[in-house]
């Protein structure tokens, strides 16, 4: 198999990287772009970390892989139970498994939703896991003990710090910015050190790492890096933070260089981000709007004891869970889903929207939302609304929002019970934009080329092709052949192989159900292919 690297950069965007390459902050990346292929990489319908990375490593859209957000809920119950998505919720085979079963070795570091870790031919160090649970979530388990013996290894810096992230979400204070950026430089270094150790001691055919610090820096420090920011008007503190942010990208450039040089000139290098980034200047408090328009009722807290009431009020301010479910027909579950869920009555007489009224209800809600205007400019605040079927076509879209909102500034919604319903942010923050990045470099890859935008789902077939493996017939992503030279493609014609396998993590009854669904889907694919509708 041909050695292949996937360097994931969470949230990376050419909007920032282009100027950083131009001004000498990222000289290695500049060289890589000049010697390779670049393109925008279009994210999932809601450009969000979990669904987007899983689409990248499965070649399927969230409607098929089943991951839509950070949190998951059984919304059919009277009082929904919320928890985090994990690896067992992914309904499609990952590229780690595709490589393993074709006798290759795969190593994956810091990828989202990789716990509990899958058993693969290689290793898994999951992302989004707190240090207290890292030991149990690394595969193989003895690898943790081996890493612990290394002088560079500091699991508390390597792992996800939920407290710190929660704090950052609520807004960090001016005096905390310095530590915030420095922490992310140290954390990326941890992952770099682990990666290089593993490349030297446990080499794989496909080695994939996800550096997630850029996303954090952009969220909190967008204005310090935005090319349109008036840097010459920055005060001393702003200039210092900008310089620290640039230090982060200088360090990242060095880590990328170290990894690519260690892999050697024969390796093919692919760099990709899950989504892009850009400025957000207003916030839409969607649950407050739904309340005002009669779709949502907050739980009456007056009946609770005083101490419980105070606790509950704090939950309500930040959370959606204390709703009066009997009187709620539509609600937003999380900031990150950018979606509205409709409570459906499963049986006659139940609370919720009766199934026969669902389509009309959804259409009316959509029209009302699209009519909302920003009070100052008078412009629509929502660019587009997608139904579940439009945003996430597939066999496993039952956990997707009924409506996915694309805000005018691509910002995240707010789910808080606050007014005003539409508010200008006190200062511009960074938010997820759909256009991520894609770079490719190495033997057989064209040089200094800029291609039309690719789909995030294309990354799996690209990596499989680079490795010299078959591309499963049921991937939604395609192989953009113009990444490679014509000679290379002629010498190495792409091969379509057997469909992907049902993940091992599904329980027996889930596997049976999915096999039946997949067989049906495959038959439809075959028929469409035979009829010439798809290639």
């Amino acid at each position: 198999m041909h050695p292949t690297l996937l360097l994931g950069l969470d949230g990376a965007t050419f909007t920032i990287l282009d100027p950083l390459m131009e001004n000498g902050t990222m000289p290695f990346l500049r060289g890589l772009v000049d010697r390779g292929v670049q393109a925008e990489l279009m994210s999932t319908s809601n450009p969000l970390t979990p669904p987007a990375w899983i689409s990248m490593i499965t070649g399927r859209n969230p409607g098929n892989h089943g991951v839509f957000d950070f949190i998951w809920a059984d919304q059919h119950k009277a009082d929904p139970y919320f928890t985090l998505y994990n690896f067992r919720d992914i309904r499609c085979e990952t590229i780690w498994s595709m490589v393993s079963r074709q006798n290759g070795r795969a190593g994956t570091l810091n990828y989202t939703m990789m716990s509990p870790p899958p058993v693969i031919n290689g290793y898994v160090l999951p992302g989004l896991v707190a240090w207290k649970h890292m030991r149990r979530n690394i595969f193989p388990r003895e690898l943790y003990e081996e890493l612990k013996e290394q002088p560079f290894f500091n699991v508390k810096e390597l792992a996800w710090d939920f407290e710190l992230e929660k704090k950052a979400e609520q807004g960090i204070q001016k005096e905390e910015y310095r530590n915030w950026v420095s922490f992310h430089i140290r954390r990326e270094r941890q992952w770099f050190d682990v990666m290089t150790f593993l490349m030297k001691n446990h080499p794989c055919d496909l080695t994939a790492i996800l550096f997630d610090g850029a996303d954090k820096i952009f969220h909190m420090g967008w204005r310090f890096l935005d090319p349109s920011s008036p840097v010459d008007e920055f005060d001393e503190w702003e200039l210092e933070i900008r310089e620290l942010c640039l230090d982060f990208f200088r360090a990242l450039d060095g880590f990328l260089q170290g990894i690519v040089e260690l892999a050697g000139p024969q390796a093919r290098v692919f760099m990709a981000s899950d989504h892009g980034f850009g400025p957000s200047w207003f916030v839409f408090r969607v649950n407050a709007w739904l309340h005002e328009h009669g779709y949502l009722t907050w739980k009456n807290l007056e009946n609770l004891a005083e101490n419980e009431r105070e606790k509950a009020k704090k939950v309500v301010e930040k959370h959606f869970v204390l709703l009066d479910w009997d009187k709620t027909t539509a609600y937003a579950r999380s900031v990150t889903s950018n979606g509205i869920f409709i409570r459906k009555a499963q049986n006659p007489g139940e609370n919720g929207v009766p199934m026969e009224e669902y389509e009309a209800f959804r259409r009316k809600l959509t029209e009302e939302l699209l009519a909302i205007r920003e009070p100052i400019s008078g412009k629509p605040i929502i660019k587009k609304i997608m139904t579940r079927e439009e945003a996430y076509p597939g066999a496993h879209n039952d956990q997707a929002p009924d409506l996915t909102l694309v805000m005018a500034d691509y910002g995240f919604i707010s789910i808080m019970n606050k007014s005003p319903i539409i508010a200008r942010r006190p200062e511009i923050v960074g938010t997820h934009y759909p256009e991520g990045i894609f770079l490719a470099h190495g033997p057989g890859i064209r040089q200094n080329e800029r291609l039309d935008p690719l789909s995030i789902m294309d990354v799996t077939p690209i990596l499989l092709y680079s490795l010299g493996l078959d591309i499963p017939s049921d991937l939604e992503g395609r192989l953009p052949e113009d990444i490679f030279t014509k000679d290379f493609i002629a010498d190495h014609p792409p091969r379509v192989g057997e469909p992907t396998l049902v993940p091992d993590t599904l329980l027996p009854e889930e596997k049976k159900q999915q096999s039946e669904e997949d067989n049906g889907e495959q038959q439809i694919f075959e028929q469409m292919r035979a009829l010439g509708y798809i290639e």
């Binding site: 059984d74 119950k77 009082d79 929904p80 139970y81 919320f82 928890t83 985090l84 994990n86 067992r88 716990s115 509990p116 707190a130 207290k132 649970h133 030991r135 149990r136 939920f162 509950a312 939950v315 959370h319 869970v321 204390l322 329980l507 889930e510």
Partner: protein, 100 residues
């Protein structure tokens, strides 16, 4: 399910104890005693909600069961119950693991 194929509550308790010992093996906690039926997840082991999420996944993996009604077992009003003991969790899990 017949009587012989039921998972005894004591077996569930032992499994939960083993899982918790494994989870907390390298934590810096002040808790010195052995983990048992009276151990409180929050007060004794310092569990936070993210730890409970991991505990739930570990239980489901151990018993090869998913979709257990955790909202009845560990939650109240959308929040994890603070005072839950390991023995309580075993007792609450018993009917669900045995599909009673």
């Amino acid at each position: 399910m017949n009587q012989e194929s039921l998972i005894p509550e004591q077996t569930i308790l032992s499994s939960l104890t083993e899982i918790l010992q494994d989870i907390t093996a390298d934590w810096d906690t002040d808790f010195n005693g052995p983990i048992g039926a009276d151990t409180k997840l929050v007060d004794d082991l310092g569990f936070e909600s993210i730890d409970i999420v991991q505990f739930i996944v570990a239980i489901e993996e151990h018993f090869q069961r998913r979709g257990l009604p955790w909202e009845d077992i560990l939650m109240s009003d959308g929040r994890y119950v603070d005072e839950i003991k390991v023995g309580d969790a075993a007792a609450l899990l018993y009917p669900h693991l045995n599909k009673l």
